[in-house]
Symmetry: C2
Subunit: 293 residues, 2 copies
């Protein structure tokens, strides 16, 4: 027999890539929630969700949706989470769960905890999955499959609420782990935020080339540039928010990287073959560790 739905009513605020993937998964499996609400402030987005048929109900009223829901997941840019949470939390039912999918935590945990009404739990989670596309058409039900979702509940969160959200993400196909906000942000600074910063930067470097050379760079982009910059096609607003929210840890990580890259350039300048080979071998070793997983 199929598992009963985890929630009666689930609201996804912001049915974009992540949000619409959750809705599709919920529709496909029937084990996440009985009734699905998509809430967004854009009429275009809501119309599109309706056309796609991936929610039972669409609404522009976040507070009404929140009042009816057993769980609300904010799938919106990091910078919008605090104000939206502030607006909807007073309307949420006792026993319900607020979540978000922010890819950077900073002080979100304590900030939102301070706003929680009695009986409402906050169990945010960061699904480490994505593509460079956005919007309700970009989602698909297997987006989270075999990817990590990192649960980052603030200290003191009710264990049952954590267990429920862990089950939720596992039913989305994800592997789950719990960690603190700060550790989460350190891991993400290097596995995701720094690569994005560099990818956007190298595209800027390409943009400064002479027109001829730039055309040819795009024409001949081999796997290096192509793979390297794939993430630079990602949504600018989302990345602005991530960069600013994880500013402190990201810039510390960038500084280390800058030193490493500069030292490599110096070794090339000085034709210091020993240092070059040492760095190439270490780099390769780290990368190979990755493919063994």
């Amino acid at each position: 027999m199929a598992d009963a739905p985890l929630f009666d009513t689930l609201t996804i605020v912001g049915p974009g890539l992540i949000g619409s993937s959750i809705l599709r998964r919920a529709r496909q499996t029937g084990t996440l929630a009985r009734h699905l609400i998509a809430a967004d402030c854009s009429a275009d987005v809501l119309n599109r969700v309706e056309e796609l048929g991936i929610a039972d109900e669409v609404t522009a009223s976040l507070t009404e949706a929140a009042a009816k829901s057993d769980a609300v997941i904010l799938c919106i840019p990091t910078g919008a989470i605090r104000p939206v949470a502030e607006a909807i939390l007073p309307h949420m039912k006792a026993g319900s769960i607020l979540s978000d999918v922010a890819s950077v935590r900073s002080t979100l945990g304590p900030d939102i905890s301070a706003l929680l009404p009695d009986g409402v739990s906050y169990v945010p989670a960061h699904p480490m999955a994505g593509t460079e596309y956005s919007g309700p058409d970009a989602g698909f039900p297997t987006l989270f499959e075999d990817r990590w979702t990192l649960l980052v509940p603030p200290e003191g969160t009710a264990p049952e609420a954590i267990a429920t959200m862990e089950k939720f993400w596992q039913r989305c196909g994800a592997r789950t782990r719990q960690m603190t906000d700060r550790y989460h942000d350190q891991v993400c600074a290097i596995v995701s935020h720094l690569p994005h910063l560099l990818a956007f930067s190298i595209c800027n470097t390409a943009d400064r080339l002479s027109t001829d050379l730039q055309t040819d760079v795009l024409e001949y982009a081999a796997s290096g540039f192509r793979d390297f910059t794939r993430v630079a096609a990602s949504d600018p607003i989302m990345w602005r928010d991530i960069f600013l929210t994880n500013k402190e840890i990201l810039l510390a990580t960038f500084k280390r990287f800058e030193e490493d890259a500069h030292r490599m350039a110096e070794a090339i300048q000085n034709e210091d073959v020993e240092t070059i080979m040492d760095r190439l071998h270490r780099g390769r070793h780290v990368r190979q560790g990755l493919t063994k997983q």
Copy 2:
């Protein structure tokens, strides 16, 4: 009717990823050469080529192979091309063609031109294709399909020899274009050499993390880090040679990138939203130009 083979006897010096892919293509199509020789100084490599059955003849004597051949393609690290060319050129037949697949040109064109015996042409070409794997097992016959191969013959090369090598690469499935050495090296510095330098460097940064954090970075590597560093699994000796041979242009390109990345970090530091958004939009625009091709 199938096309007649372009050459009677073809020698591939260094049947690794690129070399063995040419051999496999030649075997599969029959239109590149009638008789295939694989030459290498490693007995292990030659044994493996024999086991794979991708050449008609294997030999450790580069000069004997060269003497019998209508075309010799050096598929060896960039740093080895000049000395190997010097050793085999005196043995090559009038009317034959020497080629290589070096991914950086620097002064190779004039250097090798100066060594050419009468009647031997030098038509190097850089197939912009590859994977992070190496060795005779890594090749496959479709490696060059729909990828660019850039022909970089020195000034004054016989047009018939250029036309023959152009046809050769087209029969390998590649799109071809001719350009000068210096322009080639500028394009490759940004589409390939700089991304490799950065990928190796970010792996070095990851290598300096605390053991716990490093383990988790490898564990949770999302698409950013994963795509970004794929190329850092590439062969260190090949990349040492590329970095050193294209030193001047690569370091100039790196310097521009360093400025761009540093300016982006500064904008994040100063929470200069306008600059951040400008750079994210430009970066995305450049990257999107790439996927439209």
